[in-house]
């Protein structure tokens, strides 16, 4: 099987060996959890409880508010301590519910009535996905039922499951693929049913032969479902890149995958859909990888949503002497942390502790005009120019050469020998341009 891919991209060192052979483990309930009301793109949820209320695992504690929003369920049995601003891994505080887990929590928990995947209707699936609070597990955390409810006029012909996991270190998708292949396929079939789609593709990078083998074997007799091997390259897991590799189609700037007939779902999302429908479980757990040379015992964990990062790091044996950086997410797009009280959120994919050795950065020098960033940008942008125009505050020019198309994947900054913080500049310029466009629209 030859592997498909897109043009551009880079090959960062993988570090997957740290955690790829370690099976998932359940993280014990922490003493206290912090549930930010907004764990997804869109509007924050509305709390349904107040200080002092007793709650049980799986109980709805905040309801969706509006179309693009997702409800939140308690991930422990316990008592509501407070509702107020708390730190989040995104770096700024957000309204959150803090719950004190009860000392000797009996195994009470709330579940929905299980549904039969054979007889369930698309609308029932959508409703269940919405009430289970499922959001995309790929980082942006878009409420999943919105993706499952495309406008009438869009024709969807393929559902693609994103099994690339192209960020270094992260191994949770890989572990899920080899530990829970049946649940994954069941989730995919539910998604296909909801969208009325006949073709399902599981796209996996070719550095995960074990996952490709297992899933290929499992889908042998599944009609319309295939496993596609993709080149190992960052950012193969970006939606546009994945669609290009699988279908050959390019999503135009400013358009969505559904505009070219594709819906992409993450591995974890598909499994969460299966869990919600077949087992009746609301989304209260994050599946994540704890890794990096700076953590004593790398692990793959199911963690109650809301668990502070600190507890998880302690559970994994603490950090080594030479640890210098703690990141939530992958090393290419994740966010460095300064407060370890920040909680795990629904879409948290990993916690990485990096040492000096891994993050060594050389000094910034002037641009050498080497063109490496241009060659590497998967969206064919000119990162050096985008950054330069931003530095010069020439935002119109930056807009003209497509700054708003940038997906902030970090490929350009990774490759730059002059070590210019290209993404930071582009991010800044992009914000300015988006603001400019908004003002223009208001006029």
């Amino acid at each position: 099987m030859s592997s498909k891919t897109f043009r551009g991209g880079v090959h960062p060192k993988k570090y997957k060996e740290l955690a790829e052979h370690i099976a998932f483990e359940y993280f014990p309930a922490p003493d206290e959890i912090i549930l930010p009301l907004s764990q997804h793109l869109g509007k924050e949820a509305k709390p349904l409880i107040k200080k002092g209320d007793e709650v049980i695992l799986g109980q709805l504690v905040a309801q969706a508010d509006g179309f693009i929003s997702a409800p939140i369920h308690s991930s422990v049995n316990g008592k509501v301590l407070s509702i107020g601003k708390e730190v989040t891994p995104l770096g700024f505080p957000k309204d959150s519910i803090v719950i004190k887990a009860s000392e000797n929590s009996v195994d009470k928990r709330f579940t929905f009535p299980p549904l039969d995947p054979e007889t369930i209707t698309p609308d029932e699936i959508r409703q269940r996905v919405a009430e289970a609070g499922i959001v995309g597990q790929g980082g942006a955390a878009f409420p999943t039922y919105v993706k499952l409810s495309p406008p009438e006029d869009k024709v969807i012909d393929v559902v693609i499951i994103n099994g690339c996991e192209c960020e270094p270190y992260l191994t949770r998708d890989y572990r899920l693929m080899i530990e829970r292949p049946d649940d994954l396929i069941s989730g995919l079939k539910l998604i296909m049913k909801t969208l009325g789609v006949k073709r399902g593709v599981i796209g996996i990078e070719d550095n995960k032969p074990e996952a490709i083998k297992i899933l290929s074997h499992k889908v042998e007799y599944e009609e319309g479902i295939e496993v596609v091997s993709l080149k190992t390259k960052y950012p193969q897991g970006a939606e546009k890149m994945l669609i290009k590799a699988v279908t050959g189609k390019e999503v135009p700037p400013g358009k969505l995958p559904m505009d070219v007939g594709a819906v992409i779902q993450n591995i974890g999302t598909a499994i969460a859909i299966h869990d919600a429908v077949v087992k009746g479980e609301p989304l209260t757990r994050a599946a994540l990888t704890v890794s990096g040379l700076g953590i004593r015992q790398p692990k793959n964990l199911y963690v109650p949503v809301g668990t502070p990062i600190q507890n998880i790091i302690e559970f994994c044996g603490g950090v080594t002497e030479d640890a210098v950086k703690i990141i939530v997410g992958g090393p290419m797009m994740g966010i460095a942390q300064y407060n370890l009280q920040a909680p795990v959120m629904k879409a948290t994919s990993g916690i990485l502790v990096l040492t000096k050795k891994e993050v060594t950065e050389s000094e910034e020098t002037p641009c050498l005009r080497c063109g490496q960033c241009v060659d590497a940008c998967p969206l064919n942008l000119m990162p050096t120019k985008l950054a330069r125009y931003t530095q010069l505050k020439r935002y119109e020019d930056a807009e003209g050469i497509g700054i708003t198309v940038c997906m902030e994947c970090g490929t350009c900054a990774f490759t730059c020998p002059a070590n210019i913080p290209l993404v930071q500049w582009i991010r800044l310029g992009k914000q300015k341009v988006l603001q400019m466009q908004k003002e223009r629209a208001e006029k």
Partner: protein, 329 residues
Amino acid sequence: MADTQILIEPKQKVYFDLTTSPHLHSQWSTAKVMWFVNLALVPCVASALIFFGIQQILIMLVAVLFAVGTEAAIQAIRKKKVTLFDGSAALTGLLLSLTLPPNFSLSATAIGSIVAIGLGKQIFGGIGYNIFNPALVGRAFLQAAFPVQITTWTKPNYAVDSITSATPLAAFKFDKLLTETYSLAIGNVGGSLGETSAIAVLIGGIFLIAVGIVNWRIPISMIIGMFVFGGALWIINPQQHPSPVFQIFAGSFLFGAMFMATDWVTSPITGKGMWIFGLGISLVLILIRTFGGLPEGVMYSILFMNSFVPIINRYTRPRIFGEQKEVKK
């Protein structure tokens, strides 16, 4: 960015480095790249010492020392950070020396280096800002200032035949004498220090392409250009024009294609631009070699195309992913 120090239980201090993504970086830095290019020139240096004598090391040393010294002096005077160890000034000096004839005077070599760094690089603001390849600026200056000395060639150590000290290109242009491709490949022919051995040049060049420093598009487009333009003339009149193979192997064509035209700062940043640049150099070169008074012209053709790079970059913006062809401006 400020580091915050927080205590992690059990009793462990961690410095939180808060720089933003991406948190990993490729292995390359400006300095490392420059030193790799220097390293890639080792076969050329070796061929120069073998064919023209061990004493040629002096020209190279003088060129490198004066280039580095000039860079440091100017940076000190302008109170800028002295970047001696990034290897770029040393590279300019080394490249310059390899384009000079054997036994070129050491004082003139020193002047060439000073001009290369001063006029070719620092006057534009230092690394990254120059328009013309600094080593070629230095050489162009020497060509103007010492026209006789710079075209006086020495017979190589192992020369076997009657073509004494003239370069193969001059021998063909003025006497219609062809040098065997075998000799050109090995390099025991007259010419500038580092350019006579095609094999040495190719070893270094292929190494740079393999590690990802040199973009293959530039050398390949130059070679294709030579086949097309040089080949056309040769087919029309093989008596008057040498074969494209000769054109490629003789003179500083390969050295220019691998080490001069591919200079990051002064070549285009877009893939399409690199093609235009490479083809352009070959076209100009063929015109100079065929219709100009000089037998050689690699230096001028690269400098000439250097001046078009900003325009080439502007008009070769790649099609943004997913953008329709018609929308392109």
